[in-house]
Each structure stands twice: as structure tokens, then as C-alpha cells.
Symmetry: C2
Subunit: 214 residues, 2 copies
DNA sequence: AGGAAAGTTGACACTTTGGTCAGCTTTTGT
DNA sequence: ACAAAAGCTGACCAAAGTGTCAACTTTCCT
């Protein structure tokens, strides 16, 4: 009897939890875990504080729910790095996808950055293992390409770090990026130019020089 | 009479302020502005809380003192990007200097990152203008190199962002960088490999292909 | 030596915060 | 229609936070 549940039309719960999570992402991203007040999340989601506590039993629970959700998106862009593809195409797509994600999910990206800077206190070992595994798999693909002579011998792990760094910077450090580009705020076209610059530069850096005898 | 001061041997004041600032950098970096408690800074610096308030009248004053100090170091590595140098040499030195700084001043680097992610609330207009000016000057140098055919036509502003991003990532996001490299913690040698990979990749990406007639 | 300036600090006042709860209203299945 | 389940919330703590202060000790200059 403890199991019985009300499946159909569980809309209220869903909607309110979504509101809370959404507000939480925004505020946790800007204030970090310790700096975030639940009252603020409540206000931002238009619910009384006690109502927030009706759905989540603590601040940590809200935060964990969000972080857990973020991990899932780690893999998404990496899927383009697959052995059947040519390296040039693969990296081109990867860079675009990553920039696209950060542009459209600025708050999530910042929240993740914030969590890491603050010492990755809420990243469970399981999550980190998962990320490591995914990375390992893609490192292997790159090593394959290098062995096949399709890429210059670059350290694949540092290469991935360069890509993560370059693609996240625009969203995570927008004030600095915008200042650097002499814009008030970043727009889609800036991300477009970024994609082109990063792609061209990195590709020239890792692909064998074209038309060259041995 | 308000001017009279005790110049010689003002050691106590200096020493205690240094202790407070040092502890503050560490804790602000990890917790952000809102997340930091003064009691924590007091404990970390070995002083009673009331003594901290004897030197600084508020949390914000400590924070501002630290941020102001950080701005000064923004220029340091950029000095290598100077017109008399060859681009290859300039970028090589710049990348090394920046990585070196972040490795040796991890907490400062993270504090700065944290401040930006949290919306650059305490970066004064004056500071941002200064950073912008410094950037502009170096963009001009790169444009000069491009005009002289010493570099491929890259968007200089996005290029600088790539460099900032790649060189800061290791310190700011150490947990992820370490996982990516399959290490428990980053050591000097990892920064060394990073310097090599970044330098080689970027240089190939921005320098004209060697030995090529038109 | 001795008085003034600088430094120190436990205790206190006041505010904010995370989290609880009892009782209310709404929704839902029958 | 109606009772049970789900949802809602104002009012309330205890704990933790920021900042103050009056009284004490140390350091410094002459």
C-alpha cells in the first residue's frame, strides 16, 4: 500500500518542480551553493518558501537534482567524435555543438563551472567515473586517427581540454569575453565567429599539412 | 595633525592584513562572495573575528581589496605580445607565462573566475576599461603581424579568448582537468605538457605554412 | 618612565537563514 | 457527492551570520 501512486495527470507536481529547478539553476549559477538562499529561489519561482520545501527537503537536494541532470549532457556533444568520421568533420561538428549548447544553456553551463571551481563537492564519484570513461573512449578514437596518419601526433587529453576550455569560456565568462570582443553582450553571431575561429585554428593545428610528399 | 603617521616598522598592521587577505583569497575562491563567512576567514588567518573587523570594516572591503590587486596582474603575461618580437616567440612566451602564473597562484585565478561567473559585480568600470585598453593594444599588435604576413588572418580577439580560456582552465577547473588527464592532482609536469600542446597547436594554427612559394 | 596610539578580544545586539509544522484548500477517484 | 490524497502556506524556531563595543594589553615615541 505504500507503493500506490497517482500516475495520470501529475501535472502540478511536475510543473512546480520544474519552476523550482529552473529558478535554482539561475541562482545557484550566480551565487554558488553556499551563497544561494532558498528564499531567493522561492521568490524567483513565484512560490512561497514553504512550498519549495514541500517538494524538496533541503537546499542540497535541489542542488543535487540539478547537478545530476547536468552530467547527462556531458556526453551529448562528444558523440560526434566517432571513429567512422573524418577528424576534420568530427571536430567541426563537436565545436559547433558545444558552443551551441553553452549559448542556449548559459545558466546550466555556469552552474557546472561554479560547482567545479568550488571543488566539485557535489559531483559524485559515480558521475566523475562516468565522465572519465566517456573521455577515455574519445581519447581512443583520436589515438586511432593519429595512428592512421589522419592527425598529427597531439596529446589527445590536452587537446580535449583545449576544446572544453575554448567552447565554455564564452558562456561562463561572458563579461570578459564580451569586453574582449568590444561588445556589450554576446549574440548568436559572436558565437558563430567563435566557432569559425576555434575550428579553423585547431584544425590547422592538428591536421597533417595538405598536399605534401613524404 | 590628521596626517601624522607612523611610517617605520608598521609591521603588525602589514602582517595581519596580509594574513587576512591571504585567507580571504583562498576562501572567496572556494565559496564566492556570498558564500564566504567572515568567521571562516578569521579562523583561517588565525585571528579572532573582531580583530579582522579592526582592519577591514566589512566583508565587501576585504573582497574589493583582493579584486583590485588581481587586476594588476592581468597585464603581466601580455607584455610578451610586443611588436618587436616574432609572433611565434611572443605566443610561446605568453602561453608559458600565463600557465605559470595560474599554477603558482591557483587561488587568485579561481577567485577571479568566480567573480566573473558571478557577474563581475565587484569589477569597477575603471578596471574593466583598463583591461579593455590593454587588450586593444595587443589586438593591434596581432593585426600588425597579420598585415605584415607574419600570421594568417585570424580574428585576434577570438584568438586571445582561446588563449585565456586554454591557459586558465587547468587551475580554475582542476578537478575536471585532472580527471581528463587521468591524474589525481595536477603537477608541474602536467602544466609543462599543457604548455607544449597549446603552443604547438595554436602556432600551427596561426602561422603561415613554412617553405611555400606563392 | 610614562602617556598616547595602536592593537586585541569576549561578549553582545541585531538580522538572516534553513528548515518545520499545523491547519487550511484543492484535486481526484469512485 | 464525498472522503482521502495531494497541495499550500503563514507563522514559527534554532542556528548562524554580520557587525559593534567597551575594556584590556602591547607597542612606540620622547
Amino acid at each position: 500500500m505504500a507503493k500506490a501512486a497517482r500516475d495520470p495527470e501529475e501535472r502540478i507536481r511536475e510543473r512546480n518542480m520544474r519552476l523550482i529547478i529552473k529558478a535554482g539553476i539561475e541562482i545557484f549559477a550566480r551565487k554558488g551553493f553556499d551563497g544561494t538562499r532558498i528564499a531567493e529561489i522561492a521568490e524567483a519561482s513565484g512560490l512561497p518558501k514553504a512550498n519549495v520545501y514541500y517538494y524538496f527537503s533541503s537546499k542540497e537536494e535541489i542542488y543535487r537534482a540539478i547537478v545530476a541532470h547536468l552530467i547527462a549532457s556531458w556526453d551529448d556533444a562528444l558523440k560526434y567524435i566517432s571513429p567512422e568520421r573524418e577528424p576534420a568533420e568530427a571536430f567541426r561538428l563537436y565545436i559547433r555543438a558545444k558552443l551551441d549548447y553553452t549559448r542556449k544553456n548559459t545558466a546550466e553551463s555556469r552552474l557546472f563551472a561554479s560547482e567545479i571551481i568550488q571543488g566539485a563537492r557535489f559531483l559524485k564519484k559515480k558521475d566523475r567515473d562516468h565522465m572519465r570513461q566517456v573521455t577515455d573512449a574519445h581519447v581512443a578514437v583520436v589515438e586511432g586517427w593519429i595512428a592512421a596518419g589522419k592527425m598529427l601526433p597531439v596529446d589527445p587529453r590536452h587537446l580535449f581540454i583545449m576544446l572544453w576550455a575554448s567552447t565554455q569560456y564564452y558562456a561562463d565568462f561572458e563579461p570578459i569575453a564580451a569586453d574582449g570582443l568590444k561588445k556589450a553582450r554576446l549574440k548568436a553571431e559572436d558565437y558563430e565567429t567563435a566557432a569559425i575561429t576555434i575550428t579553423e585554428t585547431i584544425l590547422k593545428g592538428i591536421l597533417p599539412a595538405p598536399m605534401q610528399g613524404s
